[in-house]
Symmetry: C2
Amino acid sequence: MSRIASQDRRALLVQAALRVIAANGVSGATTRAIVAEAGMSLASFHYAFRSHDEMMRDLVAHVVGGQSIAAFAVLKPESDIRTLLHDALQSFLGYIVADPEHEQVMQELLHYALRTPGLASLAREQYATYYSSAVELLVVAAAQAGVVWRIPVAEVARLIVTTTDGITLAYLVDRDAAAAYRVLDFAAAAIAGLAEPALEFAE
Amino acid sequence: MSRIASQDRRALLVQAALRVIAANGVSGATTRAIVAEAGMSLASFHYAFRSHDEMMRDLVAHVVGGQSIAAFAVLKPESDIRTLLHDALQSFLGYIVADPEHEQVMQELLHYALRTPGLASLAREQYATYYSSAVELLVVAAAQAGVVWRIPVAEVARLIVTTTDGITLAYLVDRDAAAAYRVLDFAAAAIAGLAEPALEFAE
DNA sequence: GATCGTCTGGGACAGTTGACCCACTTGGCA
DNA sequence: TGCCAAGTGGGTCAACTGTCCCAGACGATC
């Protein structure tokens, strides 16, 4: 293998590690398994990373940074808030159903990070990313539907994240997509009930 | 250590393994760590279990069987359905807040079981236990409050489990009990809205 | 009290793991 | 073309893992 851009090799190893984790879990992500997946040698690994722990730190950080609930780009204009929430959640669930292993990896990495001394804060950061994505969705959706939230948007965001996490975990276990969509319908309606029509003269 | 009842020693080792997992995660539950925690020798372990895998299978099965959402025993009579749901969920959350590590172990074991070929079915069984506990709660609570569920009770149970899972995961990450209780309030009210007064002449 | 099956202790084994090292190759540059 | 640093391959190390073995201790039974 010819010369690689050096900082790219770290990215290649991280990507390979993610594939290994998807196939064999976090505990299967040994240095040798990763370099085999990446088609490199052990020396290359330790040339790019000081240690296996450092690579895992990079991996978690990469996951935290790169992940946003991108499903929220599908908001159709001229919908009411319930429909907007429903579509957004449905889009999110669509990603999970299409690639359950990915979300399984995310949850396993979350637990791994919670266990690892230097990474617990990153785990919280990963969650903060979820929350801010949800807040963004809620603000945009409310503006589009002409409503305001009756309670602080941060609390509504927590409801969204709680819902998606619960739905995800249940789906990972029993792979019952129909049931997941029913829960989603209910959650969208319930959360939409927290919005009220916006007035020119606010409160 | 004197003679132990043979089938009890398996239980002792499983208990020790659970303590080790609580302290160091699933990957830290090595044979040596477990026997050290139990105060036994390696030979005792392999006298009780054919292999480490067999012990883990027993451990997961024990967790599946022994766990029911015992929090549901606190239903105060003469409450409306919303209060009953709220109290039950609050009692459940109380357990989590009091002993977060336990629920963290449960979730890690769930992911471990999902990854392990022979144990995936046990993971689904673990979830089925959750569902049946929730169904039982919902039936008892509805009878006590004099209401019936507008949708199949199994679907309401899925809402309960989804809610508790989501709340649990969020709490494990940020340990924000106040936020967890607010989500719980909302969920109890929303799910209670799926009940309607019972009539003598049920259709 | 001798005996026998049950249980335990310590040691050993092969396999795997993360980390490291040194000789070698490679590609760009003078 | 020759040089040199960047990058690589293969081998090696100690630590740790699950598993196994065997000599011995223990307790119940006769």
